[in-house]
Amino acid sequence: MNWITNFVRPKIQAVLENKKDTPDNLWHKCSGCGQLLYLKDYLEVQSVCPNCGFHGRIDPKTRFKHLFNKGEHALIDLPKANEDPLKFKDQKKYTDRLKAARAKSESKDAISVAYGQIGNMNAVIAVQNFLFMGGSMGMGVGNGIIAAAEHAVAKKAPLVLFSAAGGARMQEGILSLMQMPRTTVAVEMVKDAGLPYIVVLTDPTTGGVTASYAMLGDVQIAEPNALICFAGPRVIKDTIREELPEGFQRSEYLLDHGMVDMIVHRHEMRDNLIQLLGLLMKQTKAA
């Protein structure tokens, strides 16, 4: 920390906190250190806090922009899912929740799939969107992963999947649970074709998503400090009535316990993927 962050920032903070009509769209408060960051700058650095390194959540569009060469990519059309098969209603109708999520995120469901060049290779990249109903996995997400796998096989290209999900989409009941075997079949199609399937676990990846395609990567990468688990910390705490260890279920904890291959900073993700895919695709390189 330099003197600016120590002295000037708190003053700015104080001023802003007193001003009730702080424009939300100008400033972002870091969830890691609480620092107020100029939103435009923050987005420029892929929502990684320059002060503490906290990785904020980002949408598929931003991922694609920073992963593909010059950000160029083609979005893959995803097959329409059978919507609201159970006519599910809790306090709200599922169809209303879908409508709201679509309006907010400008996408059809909690996953986007794109095809493009990364380094000197082609790749299919699938990105889950936590902002869309918590990234939850229903038939739409299942269809997205299957489409991504099929596209990878057709193009003989590796598949990279960025996971982010609160788990299965309860509003689709048993059909959301069935996405576990469905997406597993999709992963198997890529493996059968001899193509790499790389998973990048991002915050948060939990429940049925972790317990299916998100843990079946040939290589498992995690972003720093991501929550990665099957049962969430609250459920575990309620069950065992014990304090959880520090850092429990975070990327670094999983690395220590042998559950992921590496933790990669978002700013180094593209270079890492290029290197990894190049090695797996057996690209030769002059010594």
Binding site: M178, V187, L216
Partner: protein, 319 residues
């Protein structure tokens, strides 16, 4: 002593009256027999009517009934020469999932399933059927063993879910479940899965990605427990009954959704009232399923299984 569920109160009262009658000493035996017969008739009708229209919430209670047959009961009645096999070869033997070799109708089979236990001691031993990673890794081991020797597999699913604990998470609960599902889907021998009690979430699906998936008439199969769903979506577990209705968890609902292939009928009043009849129904279903599947090649079995799951939920009419 039979344990009665809350909605079985009128049935319990009738049965208590029948017992009292039977205990009566007297010279009016004829009248007693008559009265007992009348009460039994009434009881049978009540039982039939009640069980013909169980609500999803009532089904959950039946599926969780402590006297419902469990893995060990099924194996004892349906499998001969059973040899349990233990351990995941990495960390431990998790007896929340049991498995081994045996014979069904004289033919070698591998049987794997959740065991909940039947009294306090055995429930603790089997961790109430809530498996840790080792249970799923043992499952993978046994599936591979079956494939190596070309032996069909039967899985019996009965769990409220995988165990949510510190050690289980540290040792890769999610990965273990994913690998178990993957192993089911890749299997080149017949895999018949029966939800016998509770099919709770990922911990159930890990054993249930079969060529045939059947449910006992009063079993349930769900992405989340109604209690859990209610506390998330309704923000109170008091709404569990509403969640049970909304989630569509009964065998009858799942057959309509084409998620399962068949419903295995239970005796009137549920499997816990008559283990023997339950076993016979399962035996018949298993015989048919295994003989049909045994005619198929390993590659065909795998392909069909994959297609079955890929197509799931895709062919239903639009709303």
């Amino acid at each position: 002593m039979l344990t009665y569920l809350d909605f079985e109160k009128p049935i319990a009262e009738l049965e208590s009256r029948i017992r009292d009658m039977n205990n009566l000493e007297s010279g009016e035996e004829i009248n007693i027999a008559e009265e007992v017969g009348r009460l039994e008739g009434k009881r049978d009708k009540l039982l039939r009517d009640t069980y013909a229209k169980l609500t999803p919430w009532q089904k959950i209670k039946v599926a969780r009934h402590p006297q419902r047959p469990h893995f060990k009961d099924y194996v004892a009645q349906l499998i001969t020469d059973f040899m349990p096999l233990a351990g995941d070869r990495a960390f431990a033997d998790d007896v929340a999932i049991m498995g081994g070799l045996g014979r069904f109708n004289g033919q070698s089979v591998v049987v794997i399933g959740h065991e909940k236990g039947h009294d306090t001691q055995s429930r603790i031993k089997h961790n109430f059927g809530m498996a840790r990673p080792e249970g799923y890794r043992k499952t993978v081991r046994l599936l591979k063993l079956a494939e190596q020797f070309d032996i069909p597999v039967i899985t019996l699913v009965d769990t409220s879910g995988a165990y949510p604990g510190i050690g289980a998470e540290e040792r890769g609960q999610a990965e273990a479940i994913a690998r178990s599902t993957e192993a089911c889907l890749g299997l080149k021998v017949p895999l018949v899965s029966i939800i016998v009690g509770e099919g709770g979430s990922g911990g159930a699906v890990a054993l249930a990605a079969g060529n045939r998936v059947m449910m006992m008439e009063h079993s349930v199969y769900s992405v989340i427990s109604p209690e859990g769903c209610a506390s998330i979506l309704w923000r109170t577990s008091d709404k569990a009954e509403d969640a049970a209705n909304a989630l569509k968890i009964t065998a009858q609902d799942l057959l309509k959704l084409n998620v399962i292939d068949e419903i295995i009928p239970e005796p009137v009043g549920g499997a816990h009232r008559d283990h023997k009849l339950t076993m016979e129904a399962i035996r018949k279903t298993l015989e048919t399923a295994l003989s049909e599947l045994s005619a198929l090649s390993g590659d065909k079995l795998k392909t069909l299984r994959r297609e079955k799951f890929l197509n799931m939920g895709q062919k239903m009419g639009q709303n």
